[in-house]
Amino acid sequence: MKYFRLIWKNAWRKKIRTSLTILSVFVAFLLFALLSAIGYAFRGGVDVADAERLIVIHKISLINPLPMSYMNRIAATEGVDSVTHGSWFGGYYQDPRNHFGQFPVDPQAYFDMYPEFDIPEEQLEAFKRNRTGAVVGQEIAKKYGWKVGDRIPIQATIWSRIDGSRTWEFDLEGIFSTDDPRGSSPIMLFQYDYFEEARAFGKGTAGWYILRVANGANPVDVANAIDLQFANSPNETETSTEAAFSQSFAKQFGNIALIVTLVLGAVFFTLLLVSGNTMSQSVRERISEIAVLKTLGFGDRTVLGIVLSESILIMLIGGLLGLGLGWLGVQGLAKEMGTFLPGVFLSPVAIATGIAMMIGTGLLAGIFPALKAMRLSIIDALARA
């Protein structure tokens, strides 16, 4: 609008002060972007969880295995479209610190259950055909520099083999990925049959079951039906939606959302002081100029608007730059942390919140100086000059 030049020029009347204020805003919103993205990761991929997938685990704890015999009984339960299983292998590659998820699975059934994982058709076929075959997510492949055809040794921490060794070797038959930026695939999948055959103990069990609810069926009803089947048995189950499961897992880390909010609260409180101080100094310096504007016929409310716009403008400049760099930072962070903290992502909700905060903080920082300008008595101000 036509007042923009006036607002812009006024904002920059003291270049160093405005630059430093913008830099403070920049840092605040950079932190906002980074912390929001990390907080998002701790929500455990809740947003990408499929509403139609349920997870069945042992009621006592996730680490207790479930009998394989349950699979058919789950499949036969009303409202279940398809079911497959997964188990925690818990090994590492070369160094105990290089740990990531490895799961023995039924290859075709697993990829059917997780259509968000993209894998070239021929790689999946090769995996299915090879008993000692394995496929990995592209994050893992990139991190360790693996290529299809490599022989990958994984050290087991739990599952020793019948032959006594704890080194399991796999042939890398494929690399899969997910194109949803909110999710990631830092895992390895191999053949359950091989696992079952070679492991020294625990045969006939799986870690958990994953099932897809049939069209039109109510997930809650299906979950209850499954748990009812195995109630009062030696291995009771607990079935929940994938989202609920991820969330309860994420919550075990603690109230990360609260921590992020508190830290950002401290950051923005400080920012408010800095920009509030800048704005009040800015207005104090030009009392007579504001009086002149009023004599020219600029209304009280117009003057209020001009001062508030100045405050918001400074916030927007610094804030958009901060969010921008923050977004870039998140891309890098996601790659770096992808293997041990997947799902670092700056969501659209976070960005919208950020912009709302720019405007909100701008209003709060500028409101008192703006009111002062609005209420300025022309005569007193000019008399003082």
Binding site: N64, N232, Q247, S248, Q252
Partner: protein, 395 residues
């Protein structure tokens, strides 16, 4: 000495006029306070966690797990192997009996009070020697569990953190009910996050047969660790990792503690940069407000160094106040605050306190001083180089 007197005089004058510049001074102080507060909060989390984990381990106790296991949970030892360990050289004996405790733990779901959501709590089966191989384990409430019965004693921290673990309550894990008959303390260490029962009962309830995960032994001396290690590693019947308990717990703590620091240090640095910008802003404002005062002093013959110094002192002093304030608030607000989180290797909750330690506070003060110095330097140079004639003309 006139130079030094000049500097002191100007500095004192500057500080005396500080109350006139309350607005921007407060801003600088609060900026530093926020940085030190966040720094203290995050690092005290890491410290508290480390302290809880590591205080559990002592150098005169060794822990043996199966080789390659990343924690007790992923380890497995047979009864025979346990007996081999008990008879190995280096193990302290009480008369004829070795002081050992072969143990096994499972993870059970108990609701966390703070989130009201299930969390993984370690449920450990112990032998009578468990109290001798650990230091400072005492019953603080109720009584010890009776061998062979479904009775549990609960670690004090676990009782505070999770729902329904008071002495006298009954808990149900799966199909089995257990009576909570007592509460124990263990010097604030990680053991207090656990539930303990007789190992034979636990093995039975979770169908573990006669298998164990770990053996803790009391060493004859710190040096006996080497003998024990050699003896067990040479024995073909057992394939162990032998280490001091302290070393074991350090390893367990490493991942999470490193993670907290990887997030905490960059966060603090970014906030520190923001605080420097805030301090610069305040100091430039201070210098411009003091324009006449500085010009007058210069006209009277005070040298530029004294002006520079006084500005640096102002900036550093404000930052110092911020640092002290941040440290004080951190200490009063967080020190001893109990939280718990999931520790990867053990796949179970560890309950710990925030530990706002003196060295942490000192680090915070150092950070504050750096911010103060950086925030004051350029404004100080500008103040010293203020063109005197022009400033006086504007009087």
């Amino acid at each position: 000495m006139r130079g030094l007197q000049q500097v002191f005089a100007v500095t004192l004058l500057n500080l005396r006029t500080l109350p006139q510049r309350v607005g921007s001074s407060v801003v600088a102080v609060i900026g530093v306070t926020a940085v030190v507060l966040v720094f203290a909060a995050v690092l005290s989390m890491a410290k508290g966690f480390e302290r809880t984990m590591i205080s559990a381990g002592s150098d005169d106790t060794a822990i043996i797990v199966r080789s390659g296991a990343t924690s007790e949970l992923t380890s497995g030892l047979s009864n025979d192997q346990v007996l081999i360990v008990a008879d190995a050289p280096g193990v302290l004996k009480d008369g004829d009996t070795s002081i050992v405790s072969a143990e096994l733990y499972v993870v059970v779901d108990v609701k966390k009070k703070s989130t009201n959501v299930d969390a993984n709590v370690p449920f450990r089966g112990v032998q009578p020697g468990a109290f001798d191989v650990r230091k400072d384990v005492t019953l603080v409430d109720g009584r010890m569990f009776e061998p062979g019965k479904n009775e549990i004693i609960v670690g004090r921290a676990a009782q505070q953190e999770f729902v329904g673990l008071d002495t006298g309550s009954v808990v149900r894990f799966g199909q089995t009910e257990w009576d909570i008959v007592g509460t124990f303390a263990a010097g604030g260490s990680v053991s207090e996050s656990e539930l303990w029962t007789d190992i034979r009962v636990l093995q039975g309830a979770y169908r573990r047969g006669n298998s164990f995960q770990s053996v803790r032994v009391k060493l004859q001396s710190e040096e006996s660790l080497a003998d024990l290690k050699t003896a067990l590693e040479d024995d073909p019947r057992i394939d162990p990792d032998v280490m001091s308990e302290k070393e074991y717990y350090s390893g367990q703590a490493e991942g999470l503690s490193r993670f907290i620091k990887i997030i905490g240090y960059p966060l603090t640095i970014l906030m520190g940069i923001g605080a420097v910008f805030g301090a610069l802003n305040s100091m430039y404002s201070s210098v411009s407000v003091r324009g006449k005062e500085i010009a007058t002093l210069r006209a009277l013959g005070f040298g530029p160094i004294s002006i520079l110094f006084s500005t640096m002192v102002e900036s550093t002093l404000l930052a110092l106040i911020g640092g002290l304030l941040g440290g004080a608030v951190a200490y009063l607000a967080f020190n001893g605050f109990q939280v718990s989180t999931l520790n990867g290797p053990s796949f179970s909750q560890v309950v710990f306190d925030f530990a706002v330690t003196p060295d942490l506070l000192i680090d915070g003060l150092q950070a504050a001083l750096i911010i103060g110095a950086l925030g004051g330097l350029f404004p100080a140079i500008r103040a010293a180089r203020l063109p005197v004639a022009q400033a006086l003309r504007e009087l």
